[in-house]
């Protein structure tokens, strides 16, 4: 009897080590959707991935949710067409964000259910307006920064795309992309210039306090710099910089731009060229001098040794 108790206690203990059990409905969907290889062709003709990595999903922040919480048009019966009723708010939003959603625009809008406030901020941001008002499909919305909703990790986790350690790379996905930069008239060397700045250099060395992109530019409510509401607008820049640099004034905030050093800003450009000539010239002279001196010293020691001994 005791043995049986012990066994079952052990078994229960083991069970608790397993990831939290998915909802029954999720479990049913995943029976197929975790074992599908290749891509599926949609009605519109694009190919999409419909397989879900069950382990990663269950570890993600959304791992406890059921599939139809977001995929609202789907019914429990997998053989029915996905035509379930959706609330008006979500279906309207789904229409607005449809340029971004390859397949299930309702699911793309469903974030609003829980993250309504943030969704509102994003919709009013330059990223959101680009999709909703300009109907562009290549701008950023939720998933471009956070990754697939099935695998989103807490922001503090290193695996999160918006974690401190990876957020610069995430922004760079678009802001270093030449096609996108050309289309939207963005600077192409923004991330590069950030990495060359003191902020970026310290960031790359793992300094815990230096700002990343989002520290200055904001995240969900990001705006263009010439929008007065942007934290990096001329009106607000001294306040934004002043968060870390108390007493920041107009002359101070001019120190950070993401402009490459070029002929349009001639003083630093030619100062750098001049310093390179000076540095290289001095180093060349020093190497030349030391080289000759060393040869002469060896010559004096080896071939003119007698003279010295005589002198002593």
């Amino acid at each position: 009897m005791k043995k049986l108790l012990l066994c079952s206690a052990l078994l229960l203990g083991l069970l608790s080590l397993l990831p939290p059990p998915a909802l029954a409905e999720t479990f049913t969907c995943l029976a197929c959707h975790s074992a599908m290889k290749g891509k599926v062709r949609t009605d519109k003709g694009s190919f999409i991935e419909v397989n879900i990595d069950e382990q990663r999903f269950s570890k993600s922040v959304h791992g406890g949710m059921g599939c139809t919480a977001c995929h609202k048009t789907f019914k429990d019966n997998p053989h029915e067409r996905p035509q379930a009723d959706v609330s008006r708010k979500i279906s309207e939003l789904a229409n607005l964000v449809s340029p971004k959603a390859k397949v299930d625009s309702v699911a793309y809008a469903a974030c609003d259910d829980c993250h309504g406030e943030i969704y509102k901020k994003v919709s009013e941001s330059i990223h959101g307006k680009n999709v909703i008002e300009k109907r562009q499909h290549d701008g950023a919305l939720c998933l471009d920064c956070h990754g697939s909703p099935h695998y989103i990790m807490p922001q503090k986790s290193k695996e999160s795309m918006v974690n401190r350690s990876s957020v610069v790379k995430t922004c760079g996905e678009c802001h270093e992309n030449e096609e996108i930069a050309k289309k939207y008239n963005l600077g192409t060397q923004i991330v590069e210039k950030y990495e060359e700045s003191f902020h970026g250099k310290k960031y790359r060395l793992g300094h815990p306090g230096v700002p990343t992109c989002v520290s200055c530019h904001g995240a969900h409510d990001i705006r263009k710099w010439d929008d007065p509401a942007s934290p990096v607008s001329w009106e607000k820049r001294t306040i934004t910089c002043g968060k870390c640099h108390p007493g920041a004034n107009r002359r101070f905030v001019a120190s950070i731009t993401h402009k490459p050093v070029g002929k349009d800003n001639p003083i630093p450009y030619y100062a750098e060229k001049g310093l390179i000539v000076l540095t290289m010239g001095t180093i060349a002279f020093v190497i030349f001098h030391v080289f000759l001196e060393a040869l002469a010293d060896i010559r004096d020691r080896v071939f003119r040794k007698k003279k010295e001994e005589h002198h002593d």
């Binding site: 920041a248 100062a271 020093v286």
Partner: protein, 247 residues
């Protein structure tokens, strides 16, 4: 013969030696901690462990700032000390013993290089400081003016911004970044090549000239490398150096 002191001549007093040691230590600390910030490329594998060696980016930054302030203070101490020595007459200007560049330095440099390549049979006669030593000395002034000043601006940017004119704001920061890092690289390479050769690798000094610790220079080196000063001393103070080897 055995009870006579080794033939050496006093060259630097204790204060100069302490100033040199502070300069040396802070220079190395600044170079080591600044290096990673100049080259934080992830492709260069050394920056990762190098910065951890200095306690991570934050600690390295603090070391860099503290060492910088100490170095500038050391430099100012040196200036005050030398000026006061000159004003009280303890140190006198003499073309043979001065560290100030003189026209003869150009002549000496030319002749020295000619001697190196075998076009001149005689070495130039140097005073207390040869032209390389003078260059070493004044390089610190250049470094302080350029690297020290730009370093202060970069360490206290919001304070510096109070004094900056508005018309310079769009380019002056970039110039300070460039000045600080380029001239630091120049200082490091200069020390690595010229100073290390003169004071460590050079035949008579290998593995290291002890002058920076003892303040003294062996008599033989003194006569060979600073003959003008030797002659001057012999004229002004005959019998000051009793060289047992030459008696």
């Amino acid at each position: 013969m055995t009870n006579t002191k080794p033939a050496e001549v006093q060259r630097f007093n204790g204060i100069f030696r302490i100033q040199h040691v502070i300069l040396l230590v802070t220079f190395l600390l600044l170079a080591f901690t600044g290096w990673a910030l100049k080259y934080p490329e992830p492709a260069l594998q050394h920056t990762g462990w190098w910065i951890r060696l200095w306690g991570g980016a934050k600690t390295a930054g603090i070391i860099h700032r503290v060492a910088g302030v100490i170095m500038i203070s050391d430099f100012l101490w040196h200036i005050v000390y030398v000026v006061s020595q000159l004003l009280t007459g303890k140190m006198k200007f003499n073309p043979v013993t001065t560290v100030v560049p003189m026209p003869s330095d150009i002549k000496n440099a030319t002749q020295n290089i000619l001697y190196f390549i075998g076009l001149s049979d005689t070495k130039p006669k140097f005073g207390r400081f040869n032209y390389i030593q003078k260059f070493d000395y004044w390089a610190v002034f250049w470094g302080m003016a350029i690297i020290g000043f730009s370093g202060l601006v970069l360490a206290f940017p919001t304070k510096a911004a109070i004094f900056l004119p508005q018309w310079s704001a769009n380019w002056i920061w970039e110039v300070f970044f460039i000045l600080h890092s380029d001239e630091a690289l120049l200082a490091i390479t200069y020390i690595l090549i010229m100073h290390f050769y003169s004071e460590h690798l050079k035949w008579e000094n290998f593995p290291m000239s002890m002058t920076w610790i003892t303040g003294r220079l062996p008599m033989r080196h003194f006569k060979e490398e600073h003959p003008l000063e030797y002659e001057l001393e012999m004229k002004e103070n005959p019998g000051a150096f009793k060289n047992p080897g030459n008696s």
